[in-house]
């Protein structure tokens, strides 16, 4: 338990880290206990209560279909966190594997993979998302595929660069001279030394992923209605922004708080555990 407690104490010592941790815990708490925190069904249409401003009954008001915005915000958090965690984890695994192969494999394979990564990265994110959604149709899966396609090349490149640097380090050469096979070298000597910084960098990408999900849902290319998503709420609010600004505010505030929370937490994590990465 003390092992777990020490890093948390270190984070709490930094004001920004404490704020970030608080926001992140708040969002996760809201998503997990959404059903306990509100009695409204986020998808239930209630034409009589359309466009109601914030009140004691509806903490954040209602939207154009009379759905309770607070309930939608809480349930939207589930979608956002699910996409962020699952696709980031998948990207990490894929990126690490590809990066290790590119960095430690033969030169031609490395060159080929670098070319593929660079080509993938040369699509502007939204353009890639638009092209994919045109084919696959809007869905949560499409969002996750976009996230993976967008983030994997970057992770793989980082791992590759580090692997190449370590491949020529004296301790890896020493392991080779002792007769260690590539699998052992990757597992024992390279992976433990490259994975830490990448996990921190990936944790700092969580807000970016949340932004992609919200952005795609905002464009109507992500989560299908009536599933609540912060992005689609923002779109609902944007449509009627001149008259009922609270809908846009209700959709935007959770995005801002969540991305800020994860960013502040990630920054602090990095500064505390791996100061060398600063400024990346």
């Amino acid at each position: 338990m003390a092992e777990l407690w020490r890093p948390i104490r270190k984070i709490l010592r930094e004001p920004l880290g404490a704020l970030g941790l608080f926001l992140v815990v708040l969002v996760i708490f809201g998503a997990i206990f959404a059903d306990l925190l509100t009695s409204f069904d986020p998808t239930r249409i209630n034409p009589r209560d359309r466009f109601q401003g914030p009140s004691a009954a509806h903490l954040m008001g209602t939207d154009q279909l009379g759905r309770d915005l607070f309930a939608r915000v809480l349930h939207g958090g589930r979608i956002a966190l699910f996409v962020a965690l699952v696709s980031t984890a998948a990207s990490l695994v894929i990126g690490i594997v590809l990066g290790l192969i590119a960095g430690y494999g033969p030169r031609w394979l490395d060159n080929l993979m670098i070319l593929l990564f660079d080509a993938m990265k040369s699509f502007p994110t939204v353009m890639l998302a638009l092209a994919l959604v045109t084919i696959m149709g809007p869905s949560l899966t499409a969002v996750m595929v976009v996230v993976i396609l967008v983030t994997v090349p970057g992770y793989a490149r980082i791992i590759r660069t580090q692997t190449i640097a370590l491949k020529n380090s004296e301790y890896v050469t020493a392991a080779q001279s002792m007769g260690a096979n590539p699998a052992r070298i990757l597992r024992v000597h390279i992976l433990p030394n490259v994975i830490g910084p990448l996990v921190i960098l990936a944790s700092m990408d969580i807000p970016v992923v949340i932004g992609i999900e919200a952005g795609m849902s905002f464009l109507g290319l992500g989560v299908r209605p009536p599933t609540p998503s912060w992005g689609s709420m923002l779109n609902d609010g944007f449509t009627s922004i001149r008259d009922t600004a609270w809908i846009a505010i209700a959709g935007g505030i959770p995005i801002i708080l969540t991305t800020l929370g994860f960013t502040f937490l990630g920054e602090t994590l990095r500064d505390v555990f791996d100061p060398r990465l600063k400024g990346r």
């Binding site: 380090s169 004296e170 301790y171 890896v172 050469t173 020493a174 392991a175 080779q176 001279s177 002792m178 007769g179 260690a180 096979n181 052992r184 024992v188 000597h189 433990p192 030394n193």
Partner: protein, 332 residues
């Protein structure tokens, strides 16, 4: 020590491709080198940066493919072996690398580091904890060091861990690349004494690669001097140091200032800089910097000539105590 060679190197060349798309251009990092290392002896390779000494050591250890020549270790050809066939050889030949701390995997404990050879070679039936303790005591480190990490060690301690790892599998040959690099003078001696001691106790042969001539003098039985990837002079250490026959050896020896203020230095100053491997000078490759160079030197490359235990690659080998002819002019 016996005359029976444990390692035989013949005409070994190592080439590196240069240039981007046209891969035909290549430079020779090692340009045809032959030597033996005998059982139980210490053989030293001496040279300045870029002389190819580290490349040669890596080639012997199979970390660097050779483009020509033969390497025989304990009666077996080992050049060109793939990783699997090379693996048994690696039990018998271990290598130590320059950076004492940097050659230790940063996230492994000392205990794991020194016993890694056992795990790599799947040697069962030994209690690795006991082995770690045995190895650490062999190199004079307290056994409670097993749980330390490399960054918690001083340079000298890290070097000892490297030595312990190198002797773990009772090899017949240890290749040590700059074993005293990065160590303070007061610690250098400890490491050299340890290597000497272990060599005698375990009957090892050693190949030491270094730029530090004073170190060589005390530890090596035989010495070879490298310049631009070739041996310019090789022979018994005492003889080479007592009366260098090649001008480069002489210059190298005189370039080592001795810690004695009363010593008068009549130094052989080498004009010009080391030529690039991309543009090797014609004839004798040392003639651009040699104070004794004559017209013949730039015309034809010298072939190494054997005199007793010594081989010299020079058209005009030096007589003992020779002074450069026109030193003041050539230095200007």
């Amino acid at each position: 020590m016996s005359d029976d060679p444990i390692l035989t190197v013949r005409d070994v060349q190592v080439s590196f491709p240069v240039g981007g798309l046209r891969k035909r251009d290549a430079i020779l990092g090692v340009a045809g080198v032959s030597f033996d290392v005998r059982r139980g002896e210490t053989f030293a390779l001496v040279g300045e940066s870029g002389s190819g000494k580290t490349t040669l050591a890596r080639a012997v250890n199979g970390l660097q493919a050779i483009s020509n020549g033969e390497i025989t270790f304990e009666g077996q050809r080992i050049d060109g072996l793939d990783r699997k066939s090379m693996k048994p050889v690696r039990k018998r030949m271990s290598m130590m690398f320059q950076d004492p701390v940097g050659s230790l995997s940063p996230r492994m404990t000392v205990g794991d580091l020194v016993t890694e050879p056992f795990r790599i070679h799947g040697i069962e039936g030994r209690n690795l904890r006991d082995e770690a303790a045995r190895l650490l005591s062999l190199v004079g480190l307290p056994t409670d060091f097993v749980s330390r990490f490399p960054h918690q060690l001083s340079g000298g301690q890290a070097r000892r861990v490297g030595v312990a790892r190198a002797i773990a599998l009772d090899p017949a040959l240890i290749i040590a690349d700059e074993p005293t690099a990065g160590l303070d003078v007061s610690v250098q001696g400890e490491v050299l004494n340890l290597l000497n001691d272990l060599r005698e106790r375990l009957g090892l042969a050693m190949m030491i690669i270094t730029h530090n001539l004073h170190v060589v003098h005390h530890v090596a039985d035989r010495t070879a001097v490298m310049y631009l990837g070739r041996f310019v002079e090789a022979g018994d250490t005492e003889e080479v140091f007592g009366a260098p026959r090649h001008p480069y050896t002489a210059a190298l020896l005189s370039a080592n200032p001795e810690p004695d203020p009363d010593k008068t230095h009549d130094r052989i100053t080498l004009p010009a800089e080391v030529p690039s491997l991309l543009a090797r000078p014609p004839g004798c490759e040392f003639h651009t910097r040699c104070p004794w160079a004559q017209p013949a030197c730039s015309a034809k490359a010298p072939t190494p000539t054997q005199e007793g235990t010594r081989a010299v690659a020079c058209h005009f080998p030096l007589e003992p105590g020779a002074r450069p002819p026109t030193q003041s002019e050539s230095a200007a």
